[in-house]
Structures are given as C-alpha cells and as structure tokens.
Subunit: 206 residues, 2 copies
DNA sequence: ATATTTATGTGAACAAATTCACAAGGAGGT
DNA sequence: ACCTCCTTGTGAATTTGTTCACATAAATAT
C-alpha cells in the first residue's frame, strides 16, 4: 500500500462506490478493472492504479471480490461510520438538503439546524431542532457535530465561518457563491450552483 | 492569444469573475495579479498565466483595467448573453433552484419545468409553466432551450437523458447521483451532494 | 533625461497525473 | 504437470499543469 495518491483519485473513489453499488444490485460477486472502467467512463489502467494506491485487493487472472472491495472503499471514504451534520440557514436549498433521501443510507444524519430568523429559532424542521446561529459554538460541542452545511446568503458566510472555527466541526460543505478555503483541521468543499452553470456556458460559448 | 489552456483554468476564471465583482463594488478602476491572487487564494503567476491564455489585457507596471477585464471574462465565460434554461423534476431541490436568486443577474432564465406527476403538469411554479416530461422534445424546440437542469430521482436519469438528446439542448447540469458523461454537442456537469459529502468524510477520516 | 520601481507576459524548469507496456500470479483446460 | 488465457499491479514514458525567473514595458521619482 502506497501512502501518496493523486488528488483526483479521491473523486474517482466515489465513482467506484456507485459502480460497486450498482453491481451489487446485480448480485455479482466479482468485478474487474475493465467492468469498473466501463461503468465509470475511465480507463481500466486508471481504475487499477487508483485501487492499488490503497492496497492490492484484486487477484490476477480473476478480478476484484465485490463485497470486499465495496467494504474497503466505504472504509476509505469513511462512510462506514456515522457522521453528525448540521445545517446552517433554513432557506429553500437548506430545506431541500435536509429532506434529501441519500443521507440516511449513508449514515449522514442532521442533528441541528441554525438560523438567525427569530420566528424559526426554537422550532423544528423534519424533526430537527432549530437553534440560534449565535449559539453554534455551544450547541456544536454539546451535540458533537462533525460537519456543517452552509446554505446561507453570501454576505453572512464570513461571520458564520468564524463561528464554526470556534467549534470542533472539521468539515464544511459550502453552498454559497463565496468560496471558502480549507485550512488545517477544517476541510471545506465549495459547491456553487452559479459556478457550475458558468462552466457550462463557457463550453457552450465556444 | 493562445488557443490551448489547462482545464482547471476555466474553473479559475469563475473565481476571477467573483473577485472582479467584489472589486467593482469597491469602485476600483484597476487591479493586479497580486490583488486577484490574494482574493482567490491563488498565486500571482497563476493568475497572470491564466489571463494570458486568452489575450494580454494588462499593462506592465500598471495592472489590469477593471471594467474591461470584467467584461472580457464575462464574455469568455459566456454570461454576456442570455441562456434559456429548463428544470426537469420539480421536487424540493428543483424548487430551491428555480427560486435561486443568482440566476436573473446572470442572464440565466428558466422558460420551462418538466414533470411526470399529472397533478403538477399544466400548472405553473414561480410563473414558469410545467409541461409533461414526455413533451420535452417538442417544447425544447419551441422555446429554444439551451440548458437543462436535472433534479429528478436517479432511476429516471437514463430515460430523461435520452429525451434531452433528441433536442438542441447542449448543456446539462445534473444534480442526481447517477453521473452522466459529456459527449459531442452535449456538455454535462455533474453535481452530487452525496459525492461532495463523501469527499469531506474521506479527508476527515484520515 | 535618467534611474528606479512596479507589474505583466512568457519560455524554461519542475511537479503532478495519466497512459503505456509488460512482468507476474492465478485459473482452467488438456 | 504443463500450456494458455486472463487480469492485476507497477515501473517507465508521456502528457498535462504549475512555478520559477527574468526580459520587457510602463509609471514615477529625482
């Protein structure tokens, strides 16, 4: 097992995960780099190299044992354990994300929602309590939150970011257009709908 | 002007756009690769190289003229003209996206929503008409749609993708977990919330 | 005028990631 | 037991992308 791997490999691991889930529904017990390559639109060499970064799971002449590889990738990605999430900003997008079906089956669970609207604070949404965003440091500690999802207006990002930094939350999924940067002990993933569309219009403009 | 540029440059162009918009609110008339680098968390060399791929907009010893560079980048990204969008699948996420504030100011406008729920078909949402998804080919032609946003259940992706291929829609923003692949004349950008979280949990697991 | 400072633009050096090419191990047939 | 066919795993070659280092040009100061 090599310790260093290209950054894009992490993204591809998530593709393999989906491909493996698909293959498991087909009741297969074995797969190959060729099969995974076809399902993910990658090259078989790329698949083998990626998997080899983390150990050698396959058997030459045979392929990869399906359930074992699946468990291994889940372990690598870290979705074999439960993660405690909170949502910050209960607007339209926030509501859509809390209701998102994909979370429970991935052991991702929301334990708190934060808001600055006094009318919402104290209530709950989908069974999850809504707290004052200024109480974030205390609540995060109390509920041992791991990851925060930002669905707030752009102009509040800096303030909320500072609040999160005071907690032991170590991951942020940022849906605003204001990009944040990862730092030591705080990993940030930015997802900007506007940006995604700009990338599309760039390519369509050519 | 060079014709070939690294793929990541396109993503960075969208960062420069935001930085420039921020600088414009400060009523500045000039900027520099240093300033843009600080705002985007990149290196000044990277900024200069990226901008130089598309022409030389700067003046040595001076910097870049702000409004001119802004217009140029908008033109490069293609958001100087209007784009006609449609939403496919009016669930929670779909509703959140249609209501998203960032679109009108970017000349991105929804002209149609497609659904397979007979109760929704024929109605409208936020002033946008809701059509039967099976009518997509006709409606797309009639309304000259450019881009489709997929907010449908994963198991309907393949079917809807085939419908879209029959139209002159050339861009898809896919919010499902089933990744689609770009092909000639049809550019696909995948955005999977589950995947983004998996990338976070991967790094937090280390 | 001339020197100094500042900031772009870019070839060259370097680094990262992918693809190639093939050795090596396992399965199955004869 | 041996040969053949598969398919993995991996160094080496190649491609792609970033950083360095500096020549060049504009602006400012003396």
């Amino acid at each position: 097992m090599k310790s260093q791997f290209p950054f894009p490999t992490v993204i591809r691991l998530t593709y393999y995960l989906r491909a493996l889930e698909f293959l498991l529904t087909q009741n297969k017990s074995e797969t190959s780099s060729d099969e995974l390559a076809k399902l993910t639109n990658l090259s078989p060499e790329q698949v083998r190299k990626d998997l080899a970064y983390f150990g050698s799971f396959g058997k030459r002449g045979k392929g990869y044992p399906l359930p074992k590889l699946y468990e291994k990738i889940k372990e690598l990605i870290g979705i074999n354990k439960e993660w405690r999430l909170c949502l910050i900003g209960l607007g339209n997008l926030g509501k859509a994300i809390v209701r998102f079906k994909g979370f429970p089956e991935r052991k991702l669970r929301f334990y708190a929602i934060f808001e600055n609207d006094p009318k919402k604070i104290g209530g709950e949404f989908q069974g999850i309590r809504i707290f004052d965003v200024n109480k974030l440091p205390e609540v995060a500690r109390e509920l041992s939150l791991d990851i925060a999802v930002f669905t707030i207006p752009d102009d509040q990002v800096d303030k909320v970011y500072e609040l999160v930094r005071k907690t032991n939350i170590r991951g942020i999924l940022n849906f605003t257009s204001a990009p944040l940067h990862s730092e030591k002990d705080l990993f940030v993933k930015n997802v900007s709908i506007a940006q995604e569309l700009e990338i599309i219009t760039f390519y369509l403009s050519k």
